[in-house]
């Protein structure tokens, strides 16, 4: 009762506000080209969009560069909740798609997408935009198969061989740190849940699954525990650093050669070139170390797709643009050359990816190797509350990394499972 009165008051106030401030939020006129807004954060994407606008006078796209990842999704969801202000097209990291869908923020475009679109992408990538259903919720843009990067010069100098299994990685980590205590082969970063999720993906984990109309949370599954125990052991013994990545300190360590390896993704060259420009030509990429050398596998870290917002009034035009941007030769070439992405469209990007990244001029077969690795990405299902699981990762693994105790790493996995499952139940999802 009281609540409805208050809602009434709020509504009255909102209407008064509308009357007072006038109709500044004007809508586009009926004539002229279709207007689309596109929120994203890929570098230089506005240039790619410009080339669309030049060749397509009937559909004009306005690219709005937002902050990357989490903040962009946050603003997008807030605009959806507010019922106004969301763009037509939204860049969405793969793991955010179920969340966006569960919030009614993006729509199923399966009846608008051309039939051959699917054939441009690997099955793994395509399944992350269909979520294993008959729907299509976004068109893949770029992907992030995980790989291992290392300082070739320092490896040579220290007489190390590139680890091909995680056992070898642990040994190399120990050798490195023992022979020079200022050096580490890597760090366990509690601020990068996507990286950890990718590592567990490689080990065969899938944190969520849906079956018979019910969600399961499987964060406490054996592969996740195995990966957590492994890194917990390395951190506890001190041979791997426990500091977060992307800090000034980590940048310094990349520059001065005290971090000599990085478990990362196909986009790593851009990050390394930006953070440690003077180490150009000194890094080399290899497949991730394996759990089972006879069955090469990897996970995904990063990559995103382009979804159509539920507030869009021009769905056809939005799908048309999105299809062009992500699956036409012209645009995909630009995604590589202008935006520096690793396109999800493996067919059209083949040519553009022949020339290796300048920073990796010492590894001319970079993209060939990358393509082989990309084929080994394991299936993984994201649930509707990835945000909750990821923030639980930050909190729990932050504590664990700080404590440098393997037992704490195991406890962190249990806690993540508990928090994530409880959140699903509280929100009213059917779980089992």
């Amino acid at each position: 009762m009281r609540s409805t009165t208050r809602a009434g008051i709020a509504a009255t106030i909102a209407i008064t506000a509308l009357a007072l401030t006038g109709c500044s939020g004007s809508s586009s006129g009926s004539s002229g080209p279709v207007e689309l807004t596109y929120w994203g954060w890929a570098p230089n994407m506005e240039k790619v969009v410009d080339s669309w606008n030049e060749s397509h006078p009937d559909i004009h796209v306005t690219y709005v560069k937002t902050d990357a990842g989490e903040p962009a999704v946050t603003k997008f969801l807030t605009a959806i909740q507010a019922g106004n202000g969301a763009p037509d097209l939204m860049q969405a990291e793969y793991q955010k798609i179920p969340t966006l869908l569960a919030s009614d923020a993006i729509i199923d475009i399966s009846d608008k997408v051309a039939d051959d679109t699917k054939s441009k992408f690997s099955d793994g990538v395509w399944s992350s935009v269909t979520l294993g259903t008959d729907g299509v919720y976004a068109i893949p843009q770029d992907s992030g198969p995980m790989m291992f990067y290392y300082r070739e010069d320092i490896f040579d100098q220290m007489g190390l061989s590139v680890p091909t299994t995680w056992d070898e990685y642990a040994q190399v980590a120990k050798t490195v740190h023992d022979s020079d205590p200022t050096k580490y082969l890597g760090t366990f970063s509690s601020i990068d849940p996507g990286q950890f999720a990718g590592l567990t993906q490689q080990a065969g984990a899938s944190w969520w699954s849906s079956d018979d109309g019910a969600w399961s949370v499987d964060i406490d599954s054996d592969p996740v525990k195995k990966v957590a125990d492994y890194w917990g052991g390395l951190v506890e013994s001190g041979v791997i650093d426990n500091k977060p990545q992307y800090t000034p300190e980590w940048n310094a360590a990349l520059n001065d050669g005290s971090q000599i390896g990085w478990v990362s993704s196909v986009w790593a060259p851009g990050v390394l070139a930006g953070n440690a420009p003077d180490t150009a030509g000194k890094w080399r990429m290899a497949p991730l170390p394996q759990w089972d050398a006879s069955a090469p596998a990897t996970g995904n870290w990063g990559g995103s797709a382009l979804a159509v917002s539920s507030q869009s009034k021009n769905v056809d035009a939005a799908v048309e643009f999105s299809t062009w941007l992500n699956t036409s030769k012209d645009a995909v070439d630009q995604l590589v050359s202008v935006s520096g992405l690793y396109p999800a469209d493996t067919v059209e990007s083949a040519d553009a990816l022949k020339t290796p990244f300048e920073f990796f001029s010492n590894q001319p077969d970079f993209y060939e190797t990358a393509a082989e690795i990309a084929d080994t990405v394991q299936p993984f299902t994201y649930g509707p509350n990835v945000n909750v699981a990821y923030s639980a990762f930050n909190d729990e693994f932050g504590k664990a990394a700080e404590s440098k105790s393997a037992a704490q790493f195991a406890a962190a996995v249990e806690q993540m499972q508990k928090v994530t499952l409880a959140d699903l139940e509280d929100s009213g999802f059917t779980t089992k």
């Binding site: 609540s3 208050r6 809602a7 008051i9 709020a10 106030i13 909102a14 008064t16 506000a17 007072l20 989490e70 946050t74 969801l77 807030t78 909740q81 179920p98 969340t99 869908l101 569960a102 919030s103 009614d104 729509i107 199923d108 979520l131 259903t133 729907g135 509690s190 601020i191 849906s210 109309g213 019910a214 969600w215 426990n242 500091k243 977060p244 992307y246 800090t247 000034p248 300190e249 310094a252 360590a253 539920s310 509707p384 509350n385 945000n387 909750v388 923030s391 930050n394 909190d395 932050g398 504590k399 990394a401 700080e402 959140d423 929100s427 009213g428 999802f429 059917t430």
Partner: protein, 309 residues
């Protein structure tokens, strides 16, 4: 209001005028203070429910939640921990900041201090630096391998504590707030000190009172209202601490997403997309700020002015 305006010609002059002058303030206040607060209240009694897998449209609905959001906030161990943490933070920050501000203000007011113009401007400067930027700068200075302090200390064989790890991170955050706030409070106090007529304490000095005695017995009691005001401002700011820990968060393992109460609000509203819980937590924080400010005012008024009224 309209009726007052139409009566104006016949009415005594000035009846409508104050309302006209207040009009912009009242309209803006209603729109941007009152309405949001009411709206927050409304949201705080609701929650969002999903059905089944929650995929596809229409799976989500908003329902009345009663006090559920309040109960779950007040029984959430992480939230209570963040309240306790902010309590500790306030106990470290407020006395240090106000103590230093008062000390600097008295030194500025003292006739025997030199380099006053320079010091006053320099200490006040950080107030002009936004918390996001100052946290970034201090972040660099806190990180052992890029900090000049650690570099210099190492040369003398001293190992400084890593303020970004473990519980010490509260000190790191308090330091940023101290840096940004001490100058502002100093200037408020100094302005009050300058307003004291000099003859009030010149006499005491001639009677042989030392500068310290004059400060303690005459100056501080006179500027007590300023001290109270700065204390209340500091309490309000403390309970709202947000930008500093958020900016430092990516640099440290020890700052969780519920590190301070407002970070919990932010996480609920934006990371978890649950504005309803966030609204309830906001209301709790706002009530706490009200309560603490009034309580503080009551206590000090009784102590400071109890005899006078």
């Amino acid at each position: 209001m309209t009726t007052v305006t139409t009566r104006r010609p016949g009415a005594r002059r000035g009846l409508a005028t104050p309302w006209l002058m207040l009009f912009p303030a009242i309209v803006l206040f209603v729109l941007f203070f009152a309405a949001p607060i009411v709206y927050t209240l409304v949201l705080s009694f609701q929650k969002s429910q999903v059905k089944g897998l929650g995929l596809g449209s229409g799976g989500r609905s908003t329902v009345f939640a009663g006090l559920e959001n309040y109960v779950s906030a007040l029984t959430d161990a992480d939230f209570l921990a963040s309240v306790a943490r902010v309590g500790v933070y306030g106990l470290i920050l407020i006395p240090t900041m106000l103590g230093l501000a008062l000390l600097f203000a008295l030194l500025l007011d003292s006739k025997r201090t030199r380099a006053k113009g320079f010091s006053r401007v320099t200490i006040f400067l950080p107030y002009a630096v936004p918390a996001v930027i100052s946290s970034l700068l201090w972040g660099f200075l806190f990180l052992p391998s890029v900090s000049p302090f650690f570099d210099i200390a190492n040369r003398f064989g001293i190992t400084l504590p890593d303020l970004l790890s473990g519980d010490a991170v509260i000190v790191a955050i308090a330091n940023i707030a101290l840096w940004g706030g001490v100058g502002f409070n100093m200037v408020v106090m100094y302005t009050s000190l300058k307003a004291i007529p000099t003859d009030i304490y010149e006499a005491a000095k001639l009677d042989g009172a030392s500068e310290v005695q004059v400060a303690l017995r005459i100056k501080i009691p006179i500027i007590m209202p300023s001290l109270i005001m700065t204390a209340i401002f500091s309490i309000i700011a403390t309970l709202q601490v947000f930008a500093e820990p958020v900016t430092l968060k990516p640099l440290s393992n020890s700052i969780s997403s519920t590190f301070t109460p407002l970070m919990t609000v932010y996480r609920d509203a934006f990371t978890r997309n649950d504005v309803y819980s966030a609204s309830a937590t906001s209301i709790i924080i706002a009530v706490a700020i009200f309560a603490l400010s009034f309580l503080f005012l009551r206590v000090v008024q009784r102590r400071a002015f109890g005899g006078e009224n």
